[in-house]
Amino acid sequence: MQIVTVFCCCLGLLLSAGCSSRPHDPNKILLWHWMTDRDETLKKLAGQYQKETGIEVTIELFAPSDAYSQKIIAAAQANVLPDIYGILDKKSIFADFIKAGLVADLSAEFAVDNAAWTKVLFEKALAVNRFEAGNIYGIKPGVYGVPIDVTNMQMLYNKKLLARAGIQNPPRTYDEFIKSAAALKRIGVPPFVSGWGELWLADCFASNYAFNIMGEEKVMATFRGEVPYTDPDWIKVLDIFRDLRDKGVLIDGIVTKGNKYAEQDFALERAAFTFNGSWCVNVYKDMNPDLDYGVMPPPPITNAHALKIWGGAGSSFVVNNTSSNKDKAIAFLKWLTAKDSQAVLAKQTNNLPSNREAMAMIPPVLEAFAKGMENSTHPTIWPLNENPLVVEAFDKGIQAIIIGEKTPQQAAAGVQQVKDRETAKQKK
């Protein structure tokens, strides 16, 4: 009987411990992240921070990012979020975390000392974490996250392969790009690779051209349901994928290629152009340190509007509003985004720092990416976003065009059908 009683007590304790939040220790901060490539450096920086301040920062990695997102949602439901974490989801989910009281409003911190913290960070990176007045999510205007690096999506070209095909300069227009691709094909080099099997990269590429062809206002009008996807401008956007397919620009199997495979193809010189984010500098360095490549913006197809690239905060952290160590967590993030810490992060992980002052210390190839920041945009700073089901239909439509299953018109009609269905559902 005694054994049973002891066992039941232990079980009870175990279950109750599982349901409670972490014990409070004023000198310890817990940070959860998803960045495998930055884990070691973050831990080193945390060690340095402990030496300087006596505050112990425990860095815990949960990768890949999909699994991390699910973990954060589960932890939020169980009220066991760490002091510092990241929200990788859409802005609407970010807003839901704020509404649930799980994210601290950092506006006051960014405003102190004549907005000193704000001034050293890239505005585009902060914008991702900002909710403007009158935002559609009903969030109190303010800044709710801290960018630890910035990123943007551009095209990269292999200098050696371009020279072999007799191409002197990287293409500056879409027509020049198609001509370069033809020259590369003549020497048996697949022109273009990207991880479009992950869909979002194809979506990003398409939205670059949507901004170029019709401008931001018309894109937003489409999201609002005022312009249909069957509009000639959207057909033009989708027709780019038909054109790239017909002219043999795309590497075989691009529709199911994950970004890691695409990065491998480019690093191993199996394709001359790629479309990727600034994090790729570190990836290519690991895969092929001798790879000689340059960075260029995606070549515009028209001069009607500026071609905007996706960019902004690469990785951001938020502070848990329910944390008893909120002030210490904020102090650590201030330290992490200071010039010296940012320089360490940039040098060791080859990512663009979020602190402007640390830009002077970055490797040359990252400078080309840094130039793109001026012309960047991102769904998280758009006044509104498209319904995810419509985005899925659009991305799958792109795939259908590439494999020759649908024409751009058919794909656009399919997207519009989903848009109409979802709009009708919302009206109900």
Partner: protein, 304 residues
Amino acid sequence: MPRTPKQAAILKNNLQNFLFVLPAFAIFTTFYIYPFFEMFNLSLHEWKGIGPKTFVGLANFQELMGDGIWWSSMGHAAYITLIALTFQNALAFALALACDREIRMKRFYRVIFFIPPVLSEVVVGILWNWILDPGIQNGQHIGLLNHFLYMSGLPQLVHNWLGDPKTALTCIAIVHSWKGFGWGFIMLLAGLQTIDKQLYEAAKVDGASSWRTFINVTIPMMLPVILVVVILTILGSMQVFVLIISMVGKGLVFHTEVPVTRILASMSGTNRFGYACAQAVVFGAILVAVSFAVKKLSDKAKQA
């Protein structure tokens, strides 16, 4: 009413017994029964994973009934299951029969056949991605299969295997069967080894041919094992998804979607947790129904 010492002893004994069951009951309730009811409860709500839930009744189920992509994904899973039930299990049975006989190096074969199931699905996906790679570098096919076809004088068969809707799902089904046949092989081999050899000797004395012996002795004696293998194959194949993600990422349009990838898409892609739970409830119910149907069929076959 006062209890006699005997009644008190029985009560104490019963109480002790129940207390021994309690931890298992608590764990089962906490980690199985409660999550199931919570999932069913969520399926009646619209919920983004965080924030308030909105009760929508059976609307998610109603929407699911008309979701063509969902039902086509169910068809894809059924196709993969069909290939696994036929090709995979026939191969497993044939190899188990071969290894049950006195052949040389049969232990070596057993180890070899059991390697694919031991590998992680992600590793298998990466391995077959390389085998099926459609790319070319310096005039050479990168993928092993296309390279082999080209070198064998069959360049007309060189193909973009995972990028063509006509071949992508079949490739996935074959790789799934390649990875899974080892389980069936081990179970069927274990079953074959439990059959009393005297039954074979009796059949031989009665002048039964090898085929007759197989039909009238081996198959009836193996029915319980075959049933287990069939049910496990159905459950495993209907729920395949890691292999799909590692071979074709987010999928080839909707041609490689299966129920679990759709549930994942509803959860992480569109943050519709309520809808994802409705999908999971319907999918679970279908799997249970199929398993019962197979069991009933097997019982009938045994009686016959």
